[in-house]
């Protein structure tokens, strides 16, 4: 079982380091195998010992300590997925099956294909490195963070009207059931749909001969992501898409 460490600073992955040999040292000084140039990291901060099939992490009496999955440790047997926090850097311990190991009988070693869960607090620690991001870190509540947007009709019979896109789906077309009604010879009854999803707004063509256009480009059956300021055109109507409030990343 080979293993590697993924080194991250705040949200950024800096490098992936394979660990091999009996000892891997981690610290601020250049003589370390893993050299982290940051004052929160001690000169000789910690080391990882490979003993048999296990990798053991040992704090070498560092000033700011070593934390694994949120708990301070002096010695710890590493498990796949462990997050080691040193100062503001995070090392994620990842086991990689060797070619030979892949053929070994089931259930012998830690299984890479096993899905694992990162508890929510660790996920935040991992993605933000435990930092309060300028105090704007939002406690993720039960409602998924979704952006709110609207469209304003900029030309056409309903010129000037504004529609808030608060629904999960907002349809555009000729049919009476469509929230945004547009006319035109070849416009479908439900010509297009605006979808509101956790990852933002998209427009998708549904039916009719006329396809909607975004900034002059026809939209097909692939959903097209909408940015604030995009101009949507369909039949006799042109509208501008705008974001009312940006959802913060969780």
């Amino acid at each position: 079982m080979a293993a590697r460490l993924i080194l991250k600073f705040k949200e950024n992955v800096i490098s992936e380091i394979p660990i091999s040999g009996e000892e891997t040292t981690i610290g601020r000084k250049e003589a370390n195998d893993i050299h982290i140039d940051n004052l929160a990291v001690s000169g000789h901060h910690a080391r990882i010992l490979n003993i048999g099939k296990k990798a053991i992490l040992e704090d070498l009496g560092s000033t700011n300590g070593t934390f694994i999955n949120g708990a301070k440790v002096t010695k710890h047997v590493l498990n796949h997925g462990d997050q080691v926090l040193l100062g503001k850097h995070t090392l994620i311990y990842v086991e990689v099956p060797d070619e030979e190991v892949a053929n070994a009988p089931e259930g012998q070693s830690a299984d890479m294909d096993k899905t694992m869960v990162i508890p929510r607090r660790d996920k935040e620690a991992l993605l933000t490195n435990g930092q309060q991001q300028q105090g704007e870190e939002k406690k993720s509540g039960t409602a998924p963070a979704m952006p709110l947007a609207g469209v304003q009709i900029i030309s056409g019979p309903t010129h000037g009207r504004m529609f808030e896109l608060g629904s999960s789906l907002t349809s555009i077309g000729k049919a009476d059931s469509c929230k945004i009604q547009v006319k035109g010879w070849f416009v479908g009854r439900q010509a297009a749909v605006l979808t509101r999803r956790p990852n933002g707004y998209h427009i998708t063509y549904l039916e009719g001969f006329t396809k909607p256009k975004v900034n002059g480009e026809a939209v097909g059956q692939e959903p097209r992501y909408l940015n604030g300021g995009d101009i949507i055109e369909i039949g006799n109507t042109k509208m501008e898409f705008f974001l009312k409030e940006e959802a913060r990343a969780e």
């Binding site: 899905t115 869960v117 993605l127 990852n199």
Partner: protein, 268 residues
Amino acid sequence: MSDLEMFALSDVGVKRNHNEDYVGIAPSHGFAVLADGMGGHNAGEVASVMAVDITMRSLKESLSKIPMAEHDPETGFTLESILARKAVILANETIYKTSGERPECAGMGTTIVVAVLYDDRLTAVHVGDSRMYRLRGDYLTYITEDHSLIQEQVRRGLLTADDARNSAIKNLVTRAMGVDPEVEPDIVEDIVQPNDLYLMCSDGLTDVVPDEAIRLTLRQHGKDMRAAASHLIQLANDAGGPDNISVILIRAGKNYRRKQSLMSRLFG
């Protein structure tokens, strides 16, 4: 008139000796559920079976009492979406409680993806890295977005989709059922077009079979859902079958109407 076809298939794969995935379909009620359990010994199976059973029972009960495709102005979702989310939250609470009470179940968890069809709509509710895709014409689209560390990094622009496929940490999920007393399911609503084909699947398929191969298989065999499902599972097993593989295929005619209780037909 309405018609709805569903087909589900689950396979242990090549490397595992038991199947921790679980699937359930209820075409007459218009919903389907798939779960991929995790946890030591047989606890993963317990979690996925509980997730599917509780969600299905709750939906069967609650869907019959509401008018179809009614819109809730406060949340912007349909009542069906809200009920599906509630069913998942209820299942989560029960799994979490069981995991705390029974030592052999400690630490169990599961993903879930739920499809509910009604009128010309589909609601997908999901937690974890089990997915839903839609094939419309030539295009295969993601309906859900994985709750995985990798996907979060892609969303934040730290990784490209290609990096993600090759990453060593693709099996770290950021949301799961049964690990916390609370869970945040994502809800996605979609307008169903005639001949749309929806695929729900566990990561045993998507970790080893590229999207393009899924698209081509659905294009080629989509008319025969049984053949399409077995081909997908064969592809995953040919690629080593490292995990359990489950797929559910759904095709709805336009304006699918579920069976309604007499009361809601009269007063709905």
